[in-house]
């Protein structure tokens, strides 16, 4: 390949400057759905990192053999296979979380981040950079998921990872959990706030 790839950029750019959720605005659906509590958000993030990294590697290994006109189908088969594996493993080893995440593990298949990375990066790069790209984008997605889950669980349920954080005396003095935080619309608003903060720090991301 003529263009030299900077591995560091491939791994770290998706964390902030090219974040799949807040810059590319992909994968919003699952951000809304699984971030009411922090624990499922973390598991979902790890699942996406695993699926994305391995799908990227597999597609990158196959990239020179895949017939062009069925490449999307091949990508889908690979992603769907990996997602089913993750879902089965969760059911066997983390049953509670798999119940909480229910259909959303299955819906990783339709997460635009995956198809986006496979089509845009893995189809044209060697396995190692593709792996880094998958890890990077997965972590970028997870960061947003965890930040959103943190605020939604803290303000919506007064807990973090199930442990009570807001002390009882706050409730005794009239504090109440914000029920709106556990509903999906608030995830959109929290993500919007993250985008706002990020854009105000990174001036070059601001659109004119």
């Amino acid at each position: 390949m003529a263009e030299k790839i900077n591995y560091k950029d491939v791994l770290f750019n998706p964390f902030s400057k090219n974040n799949p959720v807040v810059v590319q605005v992909l994968g919003i659906c699952s951000v809304l759905a699984v971030t009411a509590k922090l624990a499922p958000a973390i598991v979902m993030g790890i699942s996406v990192i695993a699926v994305l990294a391995f799908a990227n590697v597999i597609i990158s290994l196959l990239r020179n053999t895949i017939p062009t006109n069925i490449r999307i189908i091949v990508q889908l088969v690979v992603v769907a296979g990996l997602v089913v594996i993750v879902s089965q493993v969760l059911k066997a080893f983390a049953y509670d979380v798999s119940v909480q995440l229910s259909v959303f593990i299955g819906l990783i298949i339709t997460n635009c981040i995956l198809m986006g990375r496979l089509e845009a990066f893995a189809m044209g790069n060697k396995p190692w950079p593709a792996f880094l790209d998958g890890i990077g984008n997965g972590i970028g997605y997870t960061i947003i998921l965890v930040i959103t889950g943190f605020f939604r669980e803290l303000l919506g349920s007064g807990t973090l990872l199930g442990y009570q954080i807001i002390p009882q005396w706050c409730y005794d003095h009239g504090y109440a959990n914000n029920g709106l935080m556990i509903l999906p619309p608030m995830a959109l608003i929290v993500v919007a706030c993250i985008i706002w903060v990020q854009r105000s720090y990174n001036k070059d991301l601001q659109e004119p």
């Binding site: 895949i66 091949v74 088969v77 690979v78 089965q88 049953y95 119940v99 229910s102």
Partner: protein, 237 residues
């Protein structure tokens, strides 16, 4: 080799699907046992929750074996037709429209103080998907002892509140299914309202979760009513 030819494309996709399919089949088979164990343990946890026993994860199976001292399968006449209540699929049974044809599981629970409770499962539909529950009844066959409700995807903060203590704990010993010799399964009504049948005991539904609450009422009506003969025979003893 021409990678864009039809033959190559077809062979490619067949091989890919066969490889992925085989891999998935092996993984599914390998994990099956663990998954079934998890599902069963979760069911045991829910059954125990209806008699206010909430063991730690590792204690679920020992506690289930300790407290659930017998399992019965009865028919709508109240006669015993089996002993393996755990393997009865309540979802399928609840969809049989003729109660006389249903197989009704009963879990007999002996608490630490020696008192005996009967746990009856139920299955129905809420607003977005299935809901289910377990009601425990005192040995008089009429007084309630506790309840557990679960759901698949009700709205958090609204319909999903049926699994919270604030709703479940209403199913307590203040409620009786037999009143003046008449059998009325518990009704669920809007807070502040009275049930259609003035004799029936009732609990308050959840504001904002009306359809789910009504689903709980309908579920109890559908799944607990066939136990009338069985409960009656308990109260006669």
């Amino acid at each position: 080799m021409n990678k864009q030819s039809n033959v190559y494309t077809i062979i490619y996709i067949i091989v890919l699907v066969a490889v992925v399919g085989t891999a998935l089949a092996f993984i599914s088979m390998g994990l099956k046992e663990r998954q079934t164990a998890n599902v069963n343990a979760d069911k045991m946890r829910q059954i125990l929750a209806s008699v206010h026993i909430t063991p730690d994860k590792s204690q679920i199976i020992p506690d289930f074996e300790k407290y659930i001292t017998a399992q019965l399968v009865v028919n709508s006449e109240g006669q015993q037709i089996g002993t393996d209540a755990f393997s009865i699929n309540v979802e399928e049974q609840s969809k049989i429209s003729d109660p006389a044809k249903r197989e009704l599981p009963v879990y007999v629970c002996t608490l630490a103080d020696g008192s005996v409770k009967y746990i009856l499962p139920a299955y129905g539909s809420g607003l977005w998907g299935p809901i289910w529950g377990y009601l425990s009844v005192d040995s008089d066959g009429s007084t309630l002892y506790g309840a557990y409700f679960g759901h698949e995807g009700e709205t958090p903060g609204l319909g999903a509140e049926i699994e919270k203590p604030i709703f479940c704990d209403q199913f307590n010993s203040n409620l009786h299914m037999f009143k003046n010799g008449q059998f009325h399964p518990i009704e669920v009504v809007k807070a502040g309202q009275k049930p259609a049948n003035p004799d029936a005991d009732y609990v308050d539904g959840i504001s904002g979760g009306t359809i789910t609450s009504k689903g709980v009422g309908a579920m109890i009506d559908n799944c607990i009513a066939p136990y009338q003969a069985f409960l009656n025979s308990l109260s006669n003893n």
